[in-house]
Symmetry: C2
């Protein structure tokens, strides 16, 4: 069974995660056969490792991690691959892969442009 992890940066203010909770809820409503978990790089729980562990107990065998970041800077180019590799070693029976950051997607960028255009 496949699953998705929506991976965000995390922040001190718990309200920061509200859009991530909405994202997971939207995913759950629209893709009920594919479990979804949130995971955060820092300052919020669960970690990537905890999210992979949680999915592994549900019989998941393939996980795609979607980095919910705009830009691909040090966090995604340096920290994330190390984390992902560590998770892969810890859960050898699960096939882990990652997508580019959502900010690389033209449809996401277009939605942001359209949002801004409502101010005109």
């Amino acid at each position: 069974m496949k699953a998705i992890i929506l991976f965000g940066h995390g922040a001190r203010d718990s309200r920061w995660r509200e859009p991530f909770d909405r994202l997971a809820q939207l995913w759950h409503e629209q893709h009920q056969d594919t479990p979804v978990e949130l995971a955060f790089l820092e300052m919020m729980q669960p970690s990537l490792e905890e999210a992979v562990n949680s999915l592994s107990t549900k019989g998941v065998t393939q996980i795609t991690v979607v980095p919910v970041f705009f830009g691909q800077g040090g966090h995604l180019r340096n920290d994330f691959p190390v984390l992902l590799e560590a998770c892969q070693k810890q859960f050898p029976k699960i096939q882990l892969s990652a997508m580019p950051a959502v900010g690389e997607d033209l449809a996401v960028l277009q939605a942001i442009v359209d949002f801004g255009a409502r101010a005109l």
Copy 2:
């Protein structure tokens, strides 16, 4: 004349800003009558103040700032209003306003869900 500022966090790695440059380019192609500038909270240029100043020299009288952030944590709830108010005081002839973070927009979240669904 109205204008838009797309306001992001900023990062040490210059490649982080690539999606922001793409956003500004998309905006420019689709809304040529409404000037657009990027601005960053930290680690990247221009600052919000510099972007407002640049637009003011083009005859802009109204600026809407679009926070290109997912979550609304300390940066948007504490730092950003202070910055915006300081800019308003410095440029009293320009009407400055701000939208919620783009992560509050359902269409942006849906585009992220659809992006993740391509992994299925």
